[in-house]
Symmetry: C2
Subunit: 240 residues, 2 copies
């Protein structure tokens, strides 16, 4: 045996969502659980591969879904419409994310007291929103996330430690927005860190990024450095 | 045997400087060399301890001096005067720093093709200045350095990789100055990274920092995280 996976349904307001859990059954459980929040494209092999890597590190990875099971694999324009809808209705996004957190906590392979979240692009925004709700998870890691504040969490205290891994030339998250994020997170009492990578753009972890517009550009050094930083951060969270 | 140290004099424009080299003689040399640039206080046990830690990692550490051998151990006000003099005469500072680099390269324990620099506070500014000169060293790490551009290096190409480890609430290096540093380093073609630590102030690596004014404040988490980041960075530079 070794790395196992299981599809898991969860429900909110009449919609069914589908996550994919990965864990190593040669390691005695329960183990820390790490949610993986998806890009604009919805849950895909990209996030499932990250969940598998987390499983190989001795955690369980849970590639979640906030669009709905019916929408997995949708065309890009449909994905953009779903993302835009959730970015303009952050309370609904946050409810779906917290449902995914509680679903992860409820799995028998998971130590419910040791849960964290990582996310990419839109998923980077998503995991910051989990932290902003005040949910007591151990920590969150945003990879090339967007930073705009949700508007409904300003009076909360952040309990999760935060690590933002950021391409400094990301046109979707400018230096001014970095400064604003710092003010927001400090005001909410967070233990936060931001690693900025000079000359690096959006989606730097994705080898398949379409670099033609100059917005999304893979960067192998930033990919490697950010993953190493995330591993160190998770080990700090879970004392592993 | 084990960790060895040796005091080394070097000379510029009639002044004698004194550095302290540390290396592990149970490891076969030559080995990568890492210069350690000092705080406002001049070369002290603080930097010599970092040089020793570098030696224990298999490198050689070289705690340098840019004030002059006669001035080691000077009173704080004298140190401030010397630092202010060099901050307003960056060409002289840079010349002394590059002399320290060449002195390190010339030691028999050192692989002259594998040299880097780390520095603290004023030493953080100093190692950024080494990079700004275009000197082909492998990399520099600034711990709570000041970021003001020297004014005499804007047309250079930076060859050293750069890692700045920064307390986001450092009153001596504000978010606006972070943004300006990013523009400067990107404009000079650098491979740079900046790790910002939320709520952290100046001198966060120094347990003896006087926190009474709110400027210099030790932070154990940022101290540990920044050292881990520096270790990873040096290992990347030297492929160790």
């Amino acid at each position: 045996m070794g790395i196992q996976t299981r599809l898991i349904d969860y429900r909110d307001a009449g919609l069914v969502f589908e996550g994919n859990l990965a864990w190593d059954d040669t390691i005695d459980g329960p183990r820390p659980g790490v949610l993986v929040a998806h890009t604009i494209r919805g849950r895909s092999g990209f996030e499932e591969n990250k969940a598998r890597l987390l499983a190989e590190m001795g955690y369980a990875g849970f590639a979640i879904d906030v669009y709905g099971k019916h929408a997995i694999g949708s065309a890009f324009d449909d994905c953009r419409r779903m993302m835009d809808g959730l970015r303009s209705d952050r309370a609904t996004l946050q409810r779906r994310l917290l449902l995914a957190v509680s679903t992860l906590r409820g799995q028998p392979e998971i130590d419910a007291s040791r849960v964290a979240a990582i996310g990419y692009c839109f998923g980077g925004l998503s995991v910051l929103d989990i932290a902003r709700t005040g949910e007591p998870i151990a920590g969150v890691v945003s990879f090339h996330g967007m930073f705009d504040a949700p508007g409904n969490t300003g009076s909360n205290r952040i309990q999760a430690r935060i690590l933002a891994l950021h391409g400094w030339d990301n046109p979707l998250a400018t230096p001014d927005q970095v400064v604003a994020l710092g003010e927001e997170l400090t005001g909410m009492g967070a233990d936060w860190q931001l690693h900025g990578y000079g000359g690096v753009r959006h989606a730097f972890t994705n080898p398949a990024a379409d670099a033609s517009t100059g917005v999304t550009v893979y960067n192998s050094a930033a990919d490697r450095r950010s993953w190493a930083a995330a591993k160190y951060f998770l080990a700090e969270l879970f004392d592993t």
